[in-house]
Symmetry: C2
Subunit: 435 residues, 2 copies
Amino acid sequence: MEVPSDLLVDINKLGDYVGEVVTLQGWVETTRGHGKVAFVVARDGTGTVQCVLVRDSVDGATWELYESLNQEALVSIKGKVKEDVRAPGGYEIEIHGVELLAPADDYPIQPKEHGVEFLLDHRHLWLRSAQQRAVLRVRAEVSQAINDFFYTREFVRIDTPILTGAIGEHAGTLFKTDYFNETAYLAQTGQLYVEAACPAFQKVYCFGPTFRAEKSKTRRHLTEFWMVEPEVAFADSDDNMRLQEEFVSYLVERALERCFDELQVLERETGKLEDICPPFPRISYTEALEILKEKGSNTEWGMDLGATDEAALMEDHDLPLFVYNYPKGAKAFYMKENPDDVDTVLCNDLLAPEGYGEIIGGSQREDDLNRLIARIREEGLPEQAYAWYLDLRRYGSFPHSGFGLGLERTVAWITGRHHIREMIPFPRLMNRLYP
Amino acid sequence: MEVPSDLLVDINKLGDYVGEVVTLQGWVETTRGHGKVAFVVARDGTGTVQCVLVRDSVDGATWELYESLNQEALVSIKGKVKEDVRAPGGYEIEIHGVELLAPADDYPIQPKEHGVEFLLDHRHLWLRSAQQRAVLRVRAEVSQAINDFFYTREFVRIDTPILTGAIGEHAGTLFKTDYFNETAYLAQTGQLYVEAACPAFQKVYCFGPTFRAEKSKTRRHLTEFWMVEPEVAFADSDDNMRLQEEFVSYLVERALERCFDELQVLERETGKLEDICPPFPRISYTEALEILKEKGSNTEWGMDLGATDEAALMEDHDLPLFVYNYPKGAKAFYMKENPDDVDTVLCNDLLAPEGYGEIIGGSQREDDLNRLIARIREEGLPEQAYAWYLDLRRYGSFPHSGFGLGLERTVAWITGRHHIREMIPFPRLMNRLYP
């Protein structure tokens, strides 16, 4: 067996070495032999490449080694780089020598159908699969796009705390922990904190993990998920929706531009994504209810819209749809009362097309101290915990608006995948805390 | 009082409107009057500007309003933009009219010395102060620089879970929560998870909040802080240190390049930062002990280095210093045994100059299955919790290295600030969970 040469090359750089003898290190994805010719598909994390082994041109030990190679064994392959338009990636390696660097006996995930619970039990290995790699590359691209969008628009990133003393929106769905003999809750949102940073920077955002202890097993729920929450001083609800449509369109455009190969792997119909650009259609909650009534829904004015209602509304839309100004009773205490209709608040949801449902919730915030106190009391929330939040209305109160976009739901829509549990490297579900 | 014109302008864009009459919205930082002329310094989050009010050129109501303005009142100011090289920012507003948009009676933070506990109690307002704004802008710039560094080098971002079933390094310093009748621990590191993603992407990183339930009140400890942890397949300990020095130098360069004004506000001696570039000096742990012995330290071979030892070592260095290959017993179980000296592991700390201490801990990871199992048993760690982690050594085990850089410690060094509690928008300390 030959000693590999020293010209170590990443697979995604093979194009720079056509005709040269190089060495690559990678994991064996598949092997198949045809008596005189065999193929090894290797992956090094930058890409995959097919390597061709001609029995007569290597020594017996190399052929024997080839025959013993298991899926996910780590190998070093030395060979000549050849251009081949038929090969995935456009290049092939003509193998001169192979070295086994680390074995992989009985790799659990075989190229057959496994149940999803089995795959989730082996998430630490499942990550290596082509579709999972594609999804997580899109996620990483969208994450960077989120940061780039706000950075180039001069927003200041504000990292908000996970450990909080204040109670969030849904007291029943909080994880809690002992905090040096106090009780801390894991944050469901960073919104209240980014609001505090507005008078310092005008435009701010947070982007991090959030937590919901919900006993929910739908395809749209995780107990731990990432959310980005911008907040803008002097912006009203209209400004807020304009920012949302610009933002979502940018994320889709970045994914199309820089993850085209990944979307192909996932067999995503990209035509539908190419049409995503502002403006998005807008209907009021009240208009939505009229449409839903015509479609046979029983939802009464005052109730929040459920997933079925959202799906019915989206039947008529290929673009994301804003539904704005929901009934006050259906939404959170901090949303600003609509001066033209005090039964509603200046808020919006943004529904994604193709059945992906709500990806954004946003609102103008109540900036009137007394109305905010009244709402806190109406909801029976602990006023003392919100003392600092009320201070923002005491000292130079200002109009401001913001929203939260769920990363995993957005990536599910962009990648066209059914279940958001695959949109995060290590999903946390009601029954899953491992690996 | 005049109605403000409609040409609403951000303070950092005033240069585009010299000679024009504009309106700005902002919070009053200070006012001072001299009988016939008065000054209002306003801040809108994009900048601050001095506005000049000439008594004879406005009506009585405007002057009266001026006299009633409190710190942090929100005002709308209409006036003419004038170039003035003496003014901070280079522009001034000649006031034509002022409108009070929201009052701020008895703003708690006055332009005098307050105790730090008082300021931390009012962190939601303290954020508005010039030095705090400067620090947090540097933090945001460094955060974006971290993402840009890895993105441009084709690392894939992997968001690792906060809620974990596995036990981390220091079982005694974990926050825990009930997780649907299981116990979950808040992650102290994402490292084990990013290791799992290496065979999928070769180069990966995580960047998010981490938690330590340490009863520590030093200026270098927070219970919740942000850490970035890259991990690279096929990289050894030397490669790892090269990546670290390149990374740290890039962060410093970005801060110098894009936060020069903020560093001036903080009176940072930037000359010392300008010299930060690779290579950084390297000494082994054993060499470090010899140097320390000469300096009178009692630290014995085998013990970890404390803050005092680190400070003594840094007396001789203006660049960050690598200390590598610590005794096995002083470091974590996952570090690779040094083949040339089995009493040590292939690891490094990176110490920042000017007394800022350790900002990075890194290592090559143990990739030998049996040695890793032996170390887990030696440390008395629960082997079952690490079953998935051991799988990474069972199936195509690979050499790999990585490190963790603490964001707040790094920003403290770059900004030249003493205490890391100011390096994060809402610090969490042993005695502080609010606001």
